[in-house]
Symmetry: C2
């Protein structure tokens, strides 16, 4: 992989990593040790960070920017999820010392912390609190994918879109407006539909109070969205509070 610029983690970003559920309860010295072994790099947009099938050499942490996880089969490609700061990815592959099942690329200029897999596994073996956090994190991720699969199998395209919009609306402060963090082609793939169909789905929602202007969306009533999406607590996992990075930029 090209070296786009290794640098040191700012104290502020370090604090954000430390506050992640995965690292919060870790022994202080061991956390510092992990960071010392890690690489912190900036990447431009549209850079492939990892490729499915490759060895899981690093646990990745998105510090800033937007990262897309996607998968391919022959010429087909599908977006699995889109990550925003601060989140880790491919933890499971790291722990199993296995190959990646998904590829990752940046969607915006991003800052990524890369922790060597072996260090993560060593830290888990030595630090019981970290091991517990890993269990909790994995269980949460697992449940996330299960929710996702339910979403895919039990909802129609329009319902998935309404659910996604409702979700983003809450994340971004529930102000009646939201902006799409990714382009519509990627969103379509993530929601399991074609770009053309996503356009039509948006056109449908327009009749129900959803105003679309490029990536900027305003909604008349989030209750309407819930109703269209057939809101279900066992599928939709709404964040307890708006995402910090959105609040920061749109205050």
């Amino acid at each position: 992989m090209r070296d786009f610029g290794r640098e040191s983690l700012r104290a502020e970003d370090k604090k954000r990593v430390r506050e992640l559920a995965l690292f919060r309860d870790m022994d202080e010295a061991r956390f510092e040790g992990l960071l010392k072994a890690a690489f912190f790099q900036r990447f431009p947009e549209r850079v492939t960070l990892i490729q499915e099938g490759g060895a899981a050499d690093f646990l990745h942490v998105v510090i800033d920017g937007t990262v897309e996880l996607f998968a391919t089969l022959d010429k087909r490609e599908s977006t699995m999820t889109v990550l925003s700061p601060v989140s880790t990815f491919i933890l499971a592959a790291v722990l199993k010392d296995a190959v990646y099942l998904m590829s990752a690329r940046t969607r915006t200029p991003s800052q990524i912390l890369m922790i060597p897999s072996q260090n993560v596994r060593d830290a888990m073996a030595e630090d019981a609190a970290f091991a517990r956090s890993i269990v909790s994190e994995l269980a949460t991720c697992y449940r996330g994918v299960v929710r996702n699969q339910k979403n895919l199998k039990l909802r129609t395209g329009i319902e998935r879109l309404a659910s996604y919009l409702a979700h983003q609306h809450v994340r971004q402060g529930a102000s009646g407006a939201l902006s799409l963090p990714i382009d519509k082609k990627t969103l379509a793939s993530m929601l399991g539909m074609t770009p053309e169909n996503l356009s039509r789905a948006f056109a449908m929602l327009r009749k129900k109070g959803v105003n679309v202007n490029g990536p900027e969306i305003t909604i008349k009533s989030s209750d309407d969205l819930f109703e269209i999406a057939r809101f279900a607590p066992l599928i939709d996992n709404f964040p307890a509070e708006p995402l910090a990075s959105y609040v920061k930029h749109h205050k």
Copy 2:
């Protein structure tokens, strides 16, 4: 839940549980302690074992029989997966002390071991080897769901069927014949299609050497199936060896 007959675990079955990756490395006395706290019950077919939204009071282990995990949204229902012996289910909910995201029902008369969640969590806290096994198990499960999601989003219905048949073929000894462990309606739901469409998919495959007689299938060439399914190691996770219970019954 009705008590369909609590009884004690036979030594043979105990051994099979002990040999599961999840329990293999556990401290012997602690394993015995878990079993002592556990319930072992027989259930008739079509009994609901757990309901999504309910509290995860027990870790379940399928000792014998076939168990379906499914999810619902309003009146819709979708089969998420079908389990055969010996496997655990809803480990993630147990560890997070959360509600079930999926329901479970028996498809055949079954024997289920139910270990109280609190005991599992206590054992994890006290036994580092067990904690490691849990991490490994969760990571494996996570990767399983990811493969499943890739299967759903990157393959067409026919391709998913071909992949499923190839998978069952290997599990059952790769003899050129296999039998469906579940009825076709359930299989259709699991593969994300309607029963009618599954029938048509089978009709398509018939032209390519797949002979269907009720639940009994014979195939001309498993390579043909791989080709139709667009076999991909990063989606299809073939078992290293045939499933013991099939070999036992069909020798």
